[in-house]
């Protein structure tokens, strides 16, 4: 495997995570619990899709990848590299909010590290997305703190959502030993294991402040497979819906 192959794997996984998470979150548009939150959540979903686009562009321009739109919408399901965590249907707002909280803190840590990446095109991108991701985590933290002190039922639902989400969220850090070794040696990023440690530290403290018990990593089985192209039953229907308009006329200019 060459350095460029390893980079392409990492960028595709990051971009697919952002695209699928963005699409899932956008499904709340018009259905959010209150108007202000509906607007905020939809706006952040758009941000995510923007992050995916920026990464697909880097793939195209630096690594000879496909044109971003067709790469995003026309691939077969097994060619996507997103983790299972982002594929699951929205369920109720507690699940969506907890997913947003765990996912965005992982994004914040990843992009923070990429600001010093040896792969130059990632540095300005990481710098540019800093403020957006800061807002996403601020939004998530404010909701988690609020709902954890909003009564017994509310607290119980947040803890239960955390228990459901935690093994799925560990799937964000699914190891890819072959590509990972190259990327670490080249100074492109510190590797999934180190990112996971930083994420666990940060999320543990935030959960503790909200009174939530973060399950022990050793007590759960992380849900892996996405990075190798094995997906949940929920991805294919999502891809069909997401790409329906694009596929109706792939040559159209927007």
């Amino acid at each position: 495997m060459t350095k460029n192959d390893a980079l392409a794997r990492m960028l595709t996984a990051m971009a697919d995570d952002a695209l699928i998470q963005g699409h899932r979150n956008s499904e709340w548009t018009g259905l959010g619990p209150i108007m202000e939150e509906d607007i905020a959540f939809s706006s952040m979903a758009q941000d995510k899709i923007g992050h995916a686009w920026a990464l697909y562009r880097i793939l195209q321009e630096e690594l000879g990848g496909e044109e971003p739109d067709s790469f995003a919408f026309l691939r077969n399901e097994k060619d996507y590299r997103c983790c299972h965590f982002v594929e699951y249907p929205n369920g109720e707002y507690d699940f969506s909010l907890m997913r947003h909280f765990l996912f965005d803190h992982a994004e914040a840590i990843r992009y923070q590290q990429l600001r010093e990446s040896a792969f130059a095109p990632l540095r300005p991108l990481a710098e540019k997305l800093k403020g957006e991701i800061k807002y996403h985590t601020l939004h998530a933290n404010a909701w988690i703190a609020q709902l954890c002190r909003a009564g017994e039922e509310s607290y119980a639902r947040m803890q239960s959502a955390l228990n459901t989400c935690f093994p799925l969220a560990l799937g964000i850090f699914e190891p890819d030993p072959e590509a990972g070794a190259i990327l670490e040696a080249e100074g492109i990023y510190p590797g999934e294991a180190k990112l996971k440690e930083m994420w666990l530290d940060r999320v543990y403290n935030l959960c503790a402040a909200a009174g939530l018990n973060l399950p022990a990593e050793s007590s759960v089985t992380p849900e892996y497979g996405g990075r190798k192209g094995y997906h949940t039953e929920y991805l294919q229907p999502l891809l069909e819906e997401m790409g329906a308009v694009f596929r109706s006329d792939p040559q159209a200019t927007w």
């Binding site: 209150i34 607007i39 905020a40 706006s43 703190a145």
Partner: protein
């Protein structure tokens, strides 16, 4: 007695009034508040009122206000303040301001200073 009306809107938590007519105390956090939002376009500029949001607390009001009022165009900061904390005159006190339009002698525009300013500018320019 009629059944209490429950709203689908989570911000609306209808109070149960007692038949005896005793006053009902609204507990902190029982109802969402409205917060007025003030937008600052650049550092040092005034914060200007742009609208309001509903939120359970000031922290979330600020989070909502950011996407509500500052996701387009330039913004460097926002303020939120609970609408209930704003003190205002009553509408019927509008008569206090009624004669303002006649008191043109209070307009700063009445002072003629441009001549002096130009003279000063000219004198400092001449010295150089």
């Amino acid at each position: 007695m009629d059944q209490p009306q429950y709203s689908l809107d989570p911000r609306v938590n209808r109070l149960r009034l007692l038949e005896s007519g005793e006053p009902v105390e609204v507990q902190e956090g029982e109802n969402w508040n409205s917060f007025e939002v003030f937008h600052q376009e650049k550092r040092g500029a005034h914060h200007e009122h742009v609208g309001c949001v509903h939120a359970p607390n000031a922290q979330l009001a600020l989070v909502f206000a950011k996407e509500q009022f500052a996701r387009r165009k330039k913004c460097v900061n926002l303020w939120v303040v609970r609408s209930a904390d704003i003190l205002a005159f009553n509408a019927e006190d509008e008569d206090m301001f009624a004669n303002n339009a006649e008191k043109t002698y209070r307009d700063a525009s009445g002072f003629k200073v441009m001549e002096k300013i130009n003279q000063f500018k000219k004198s400092t320019h001449d010295k150089k």
